[in-house]
């Protein structure tokens, strides 16, 4: 068995992983292991922008950004971590630009910024231009730029290797076990520090903006090793996914003036969020949309609504809202301007819907989008094991897979890309510093046994049902009962179904006996991960008897700070689920009612 030794191993090559690798590799020997070629990572799909209070177009401050993020999190975010992230944001953007990121620009040559949901001028309460963007493909540009920098700095990559297990020696991280996809060979990566940056797990829901590959592998591996997952009940449903496909239409469309309209032609957000309307926080908008369609006001009475960004609509409502350009002149757009600002969205709509957004409104519905929860870490990116923040030495996590928590119960747009670069960087720096200060642990001879057993068990599944139905049924039950609105009955039904699916999963049929690119085997392993995450999500949601942020219960519709101002920690080991709770760090902002 091949054994590789590096000071630092990064698992996952998206924005957080690449940023971590860039920084770690400056001080320590580093390798990145990814099941995909790095530029395939889902960071590349992010559209809207990265939030930072540069103030290039109008007055803005990191303090405002901090408050907006705390409020956006429905007061569940840890305020010290949020303050840290928003303070680092400005310099982080300049750093990306220095690396070559091709931001869109304003006439004087500085980075362009646009409004985004939940980001406000704290004095007036109106939307503020805080999102720094590169057309409507900011994520693509970030991913490409970071990958280019990794090539420039000779970072070592192991592409198309699937990490299967974390190696712990006496409770200290000592490396990972990975499967070379091209050959089925198992490799051991011996390290002093391991950084998990494996992204989200939207695939457990039927309608999702997430890539096929987002199966929450890092969280699943951590759970198997006795590490809890935090705040798993908080999963964001983005308001505007393309009807039926779930492909994301960026909030930036609403930032440019697009509005949501129901079957009666009403701009219904006026009723749910009087001040910021369509630019309210995502959970608020998704719930509003869901209620509209449930009450029969969907388009043609069905389950979708319209996102209208036709110039005449944008201009009409901009005038009604009194929206202005930074120089005070009335906000107006032309078809050409919209085409220049939102080219990719227009392409998606034409390709998948046969609809030209300049001429027709787009059919949209809420789509499973982002995991606020994940592997719990402290502000240094170190993974913690319990409510006292006991550190697991040598293990770090960053990006969507981690839960610091900066997003609490709901994430604001543009804060994920920011999260990646700030916490990716600091996880990399801290992991490298730690790795260089300790000696390599001796690896036990059975380090790879668990992973090999799992793979062999799956490989030997010759008789049984194909994966298709189990996958489909999981995604449907999660969408129906652990989606935008939840009830005790629904979630209980979902939990029973998931447990039934887990049992059926033990008797599946793997058709591929080969050793070369056995994607059948790997997909099955990923489904196993997803079933575990579905179980953890549902149990966590069942137990939280309040509504907060993205977790909305029809049977407990109010936020209950007295009982529930705390983070959930969920363990899933050897088939048993356990829950404990951890306090929220509150520094500057006392929880208030959340109105937009």
């Amino acid at each position: 068995m091949k054994v590789h030794q590096f000071d630092v191993i990064v698992v996952g090559a998206g924005g957080a992983g690449l940023m971590a690798a860039l920084y770690a590799s400056q001080k320590a020997t580093t390798a990145v292991i990814s099941k995909l070629y790095p530029t395939r990572s889902h960071t590349g799909a992010a559209q809207g922008g990265v939030g930072a209070a540069l103030g290039n177009l109008e007055e803005d401050h990191p303090e405002w950004h901090t408050f907006d993020t705390v409020k956006g999190s429905d007061y569940l975010g840890d305020q010290d971590a949020i303050e840290f992230m928003c303070n680092e944001a400005v310099q982080a953007i300049y750093e990306l630009e220095h690396m070559g990121l091709p931001f869109s620009r304003i006439p004087d040559g500085r980075i362009a910024q646009r409004p985004f949901g939940g980001h406000t001028n704290n004095l007036t309460g109106k939307p503020v231009r805080r999102s720094c963007y590169a057309a409507d493909r900011t994520g693509h540009m970030i991913l490409q730029t970071l990958y280019q920098q990794c090539i420039k700095n000779n970072v070592t990559f192991f592409d198309e290797f699937q990490v299967l297990d974390l190696i712990l020696v006496d409770g200290v991280a000592a490396g990972v076990v990975a499967f070379e996809i091209a050959t089925s060979e198992v490799h051991i990566f011996h390290a002093n520090a391991v950084i998990f940056a494996t992204g989200g797990h939207g695939r457990i829901w039927k309608i999702t903006s997430n890539a096929f590959t987002l199966s929450g592998d890092g969280i699943a591996i951590a759970l198997r090793r006795g590490i809890p997952a935090q705040d798993m009940e908080f999963f964001q449903f983005h308001p505007t996914g393309i009807y039926k496909l779930g492909i994301l239409i960026t909030e930036g469309v609403r930032g440019e003036g697009g509005i949501l309209v129901n079957g009666k032609g009403e701009r219904f957000m006026e009723r749910y969020a009087p001040r910021v309307k369509d630019l309210a926080s995502r959970d608020v908008v998704s719930r509003a949309m869901y209620l509209e369609t449930r009450e029969g006001r969907g388009v043609n009475g069905s389950d979708y609504l319209y996102l209208d960004v036709r110039p005449e609509t944008v201009n009409k409502y901009a005038a009604l809202d009194g929206r202005t350009f930074p120089d005070g002149s009335p906000y107006r757009v032309t078809s050409e301007e919209l085409l220049a600002k939102l080219p990719d969205i227009i392409d998606f709509c034409r390709t998948y819907l046969g609809v030209d957004p300049i001429d027709q409104p787009m059919p949209v519905q809420p789509t499973a989008h982002y995991a606020m929860g994940g592997i719990p870490t402290n502000n240094y990116g170190q993974v913690v094991l319990d409510e006292k923040n006991t550190v697991l030495p040598g293990l770090y996590a960053a990006g969507e897979t981690a839960c610091v928590s900066v997003h609490g119960a709901n994430r604001l747009g543009t804060n994920s890309l920011l999260d990646l670069i700030v916490f990716g960087k600091h996880a990399g720096i801290n992991a490298a510093e730690y790795a260089c200060s300790v000696n390599f642990q001796r690896l036990p001879s059975d380090s790879a046994d668990f992973a090999i057993q799992e793979i062999e068990r799956l490989r030997n599944c010759k008789e049984g049902e194909p994966l298709g139905d189990i996958t489909q049924e999981m995604r449907e039950v999660m969408m129906d009962h652990v989606g935008v609105f939840r009830t005790k009955e629904g979630m209980t039904e979902a939990l029973n179904k998931i447990r039934e699916l887990k049992e059926r999963f033990r008797h599946i049929r793997i058709d591929d006996c080969g050793e070369v690119f056995n994607t059948n085997l790997l997909n099955a392993w990923e489904i196993g991960n997803q079933l575990n995450l579905a179980e953890v999500t549902t149990v966590s949601a069942l137990n939280r008897t309040e509504s907060r942020g993205a977790h909305s219960r029809e049977d407990y519709p109010k936020r209950d700070d007295k009982k529930w101002l705390k983070h959930t920690l969920t363990w899933l080991k050897d088939g048993e689920v356990k829950l404990r709770y951890k306090p929220v760090v509150i520094t500057k902002f006392q929880p208030k009612e959340r109105i937009y």
């Binding site: 799909a45 869109s104 420039k152 890539a211 590959t213 058709d511 690119f517 997909n523």
Partner: protein, 210 residues
């Protein structure tokens, strides 16, 4: 199999894999044309499987084949290593050793527009593997590498244009391009590739970036 007109070819492949034959292997990730994983030949043309809808093909029979010019590893999976190696030879990263300002380096909207097209590349390899010059000799760096070089050569903040132009004026650089246009046709991001290659040729010939 049964299909809706709005199904993506990728959806059909996933259905085959999930219900009929789990051994069918193909790369895919985002499912909406931004990651570049699922480039393949569909009814003879290089396309991304997630961007082709059943109704776009206007045919009841759909033939899927791996890309040409790269070694087939299995089913629809080809060896992407030579493609990425060529990409790495053109210095595809910003080079500027002047101390950066505290804030952003300035760049006008016009300067930014100059590179807008070539920043779109998702490294899917549809262009390079549709190029007859690449099929004839796979040492040619290929359209994608040249596009990514263009993105930096014409970026007002970069200072290594002459090195990249020197690399591309070599035996397997831009002069392998015979303006066949297959690349432009194949690009799922609608990048004007042949035009970009032409601009690089002109920069080499005139010694100027204007």
């Amino acid at each position: 199999m049964e299909a809706e007109p709005t199904d993506r070819v990728l959806d059909l492949l996933e259905r085959v894999k999930g219900y009929q034959d789990g051994s069918l292997s193909f790369r895919r990730s985002c499912g909406h044309g931004v990651c570049g994983s699922d480039a393949m030949r569909i009814n003879g043309r290089n396309r991304l499987a997630c961007k082709v809808l059943v109704k776009d093909l206007g045919a009841k029979k759909i033939v899927v084949e791996p890309l040409l010019g790269l070694r087939v590893i299995k089913d629809l999976i080809v060896d992407m290593e030579p493609f990425f190696e060529h990409y790495e030879t053109v210095m595809p990263f910003l080079v500027n050793n002047e101390p950066p300002p505290i804030k952003e380096r300035l760049q006008s909207p016009e300067q930014r527009v100059r590179i807008d097209d070539t920043t779109k590349c998702i490294l899917c390899a549809a262009c390079t593997t549709s190029c007859p010059s690449f099929w004839a000799n796979d040492q040619y760096v290929g359209p994608a590498a040249i596009v990514n070089a263009h993105r930096f050569i014409f970026d007002s903040r970069d200072r290594a244009a002459s090195e990249r132009l020197r690399i591309l004026s070599g035996q397997f650089g831009v002069y392998r391009c015979h303006t066949i246009f297959n690349c432009t046709d194949a690009c799922p991001r609608d990048i004007q590739i042949t035009k970009a290659i032409g601009e690089v040729k002109k920069a080499i010939a005139t010694g100027s970036l204007d």
